[in-house]
């Protein structure tokens, strides 16, 4: 018994401490170093942080290079699979595109409206730039769902930066290095996102399931009865970790029908990500100027401040009065010149009227003379025409104008 225990101790001691000719360190030393690294890496020392960042940069780049052949084979396999369903997909996409184009216009209007409303609510406007980032490491680990992108603190990426696939949320940055960052995907078990489920307008939190979907958690009992397969999930913005209104996915019922469990199917396929957008947000104050002015006023004596305001008001009123007087004078001058012009025009009009009437008289006379030549003999009183009229009378003129018809 004692011998076997001795043997065990000798074997263990040998395993921990014995170095063969090839080994530079004993295993016990390396175990101690490992434990020290675990402890040190969790302490937020500046030196440790820089070292960690350096190691991360180096390892991520190396991993990207090493993964090139595997990624090539993997991507080729996916591309071949895509080509087989290419035509069908093209038709569907074409239909979807025409529908989306029409929807896009209304969504743009909503975006502007939203921006205006946010300006009214907040004292700042958040302008955001989406930075395109390439995924350099994506090993789809079964334990942790994360990706490495080729943008870091150099590109203003910060911890918590939202990451998108087109306009769909895929995760947030949890580790930032100089030129690389680690993004925790929404499918990870450690990812919790406050969401709104529309159209029911139910607030909930979704947690990654470790697969390509998420579970809906923390909702009141009975609320899940209202869910349909049409329900969509988007960020609520609670907690200010994620921006509000970012689409995530749609509600699907889990197979467990008795318990009425619902999952969220992401719009984006995280296993197919190649490029993502990281949203760099900058806050711009919009009320700063007004606030500064207000602050300078309040710093003075209140009575003096009031007087100053009244003086300013008086000055403004006087200035505007002088302006009105000037305007009044110029308007009067304009009225006079216009009156003169009107009288000129009126005389012109009367002259023209006279000419027109003269012209009309002359025209009537001409017509009478022409008819007189033709029908004058029928209307003139003579030996053979007893019914006729004396030349120059109004009856004679009337007869001529009636083309020789004599009134009985």
């Amino acid at each position: 018994m004692a011998t076997s225990r001795d043997d065990f101790i000798i074997a263990i001691r040998s395993a921990f401490l014995k170095k063969s000719t090839q080994q530079k360190f004993s295993l016990l030393t390396l175990v101690v170093i490992s434990i020290s690294i675990i402890i040190l890496s969790n302490l937020d020392f500046k030196v440790v942080r820089y070292m960690k960042n350096g190691i991360n940069e180096l390892v991520y780049r190396s991993s990207f290079i090493i993964s090139v052949p595997e990624n090539f084979i993997k991507n080729s396999f996916f591309e071949i699979r895509e080509y087989s369903t290419y035509f069908k997909e093209f038709k569907n996409i074409k239909e979807d595109l025409s529908q989306l184009k029409s929807k896009n216009v209304s969504s743009e209007i909503l975006q502007y409206e939203n921006k205006e409303l946010k300006e009214l609510i907040n004292d700042y406007v958040s302008s955001s730039d989406k930075v395109l980032a390439k995924i350099i490491v994506d090993h789809d680990s079964p334990f942790l769902k994360s990706i490495i992108i080729n943008k870091g603190s150099k590109d203003n990426i910060k911890i918590g930066t939202n990451v998108y696939d087109q306009s769909y949320l895929v995760g947030r940055v949890i580790e930032v290095n100089f030129k690389t960052s680690r993004v925790l995907l929404l499918s990870d078990l450690n990812s919790n996102v406050p969401v709104t489920i529309a159209p029911q307008n139910i607030q909930a939190i979704i947690t990654g399931s470790g697969n390509n979907n998420a579970q809906i958690k923390y909702i009141k009992k009975g609320f899940s009865d209202e869910f349909t397969n049409e329900s969509i999930v988007y960020t609520s913005g609670s907690g200010a970790i994620f921006k509000s209104g970012i689409p995530i996915g749609r509600v699907i019922s889990a197979n467990d029908t008795e318990a009425k469990k619902f999952n969220v199917e992401f719009y984006s396929d995280f296993s197919q990500l190649k490029y993502v957008f990281a949203e760099v947000v900058t806050k711009i104050d919009i009320k700063r100027n007004n606030e500064e002015a207000e602050a300078s006023v309040t710093n003075q004596n209140p009575m003096e401040a009031k007087l100053k305001i009244l003086e300013d008001e008086l000055e403004i009123i006087e200035e505007s009065n002088a302006r009105f007087k000037e305007e009044n004078e110029s308007l009067k001058n304009e009225i006079n010149t216009l009156g003169e012009k009107i009288t000129g025009f009126q005389t012109k009009i009367s002259e023209q009227n006279e000419t027109i009437s003269q012209f009309n008289i002359e025209t009537d006379e001409l017509i009478f003379l022409r008819l007189n030549l033709q029908y004058g003999h029928k209307c003139r009183k003579s030996l053979f025409n007893h019914k006729g009229y004396t030349v120059g009378t109004s009856e004679y003129k009337e007869c001529v104008l009636k083309r020789g018809k004599i009134n009985d």
Binding site: D7, F8, I10, A11, I12, S14, A15, F16, K18, S20, Q22, Q23, K24, F25, L27, L30, V31, I33, S34, I35, S36, I37, I38, S41, N42, K52, I55, N56, V59, Y60, S62, S63, I66, S67, E70, K74, V137, H139, D140, S141, P142, F143, L144, S146, E175, R182, L189, N190, G210, N211, S271
Partner: protein, 168 residues
């Protein structure tokens, strides 16, 4: 002279092959996860380290294994040092097993491997959930352990050919 030099280079490369594959596998996460089989995964570095430290081959330096662990942590996103500690425990276990074994038996090695990886994965799971508050799926760990155990015998037979080549 030239041929002797080139032969020396090839031999050196051949003898360093396990450690090169170890580094490639930790950098590349060689585990066929993209096949999207539910829970399917296996830990290739565990197989490699267990086999070659058990055989105590030349150039399979503990320090390099330790560095491979650090790289693995960085790639996977685990707290730095966790994988190094796991790899070191495999080395200790194999060193102990080598010391107590008089007549090596592949089946015994295989089941001893199962015991060791179960122990190490349990330790990893406990450390990550208790000290680092990670949410992990226990089933993933169990399935990973099972497939790593299954794949060991296949890879062990392949590595035997390598060992044969090294002896020749």
């Amino acid at each position: 002279m030239t041929s002797l030099n080139s032969r020396g280079f090839y031999f050196k490369f051949y003898s360093l092959l396990p450690i090169i594959i170890l580094f490639i596998s930790v950098l590349n996460e060689f585990d066929f996860n993209y096949l999207n089989l539910k829970y399917f995964s296996f830990n290739f570095p565990f197989i490699l380290i267990f086999f070659f430290t058990l055989k105590d081959i030349k150039n399979f330096d503990y320090l390099l294994v330790f560095l491979a662990g650090l790289i693995n942590d960085t790639v996977v996103g685990l707290p730095l040092g966790i994988s190094s500690l796991s790899f070191m425990f495999i080395c200790i276990a194999t060193s102990y097993f080598r010391n107590i074994t008089i007549r090596p038996n592949p089946v015994k090695d295989w089941f001893y491997f199962l015991f060791i990886i179960s122990l190490i994965n349990s330790m990893n799971y406990s450390i990550l959930t208790l000290f680092f508050s990670y949410n992990l799926i226990l089933m993933s760990y169990l399935v990973n352990t099972f497939f790593t155990f299954l794949f060991y015998i296949i890879f062990a037979n392949l590595f035997k050919y390598y060992m044969k080549g090294l002896d020749d």
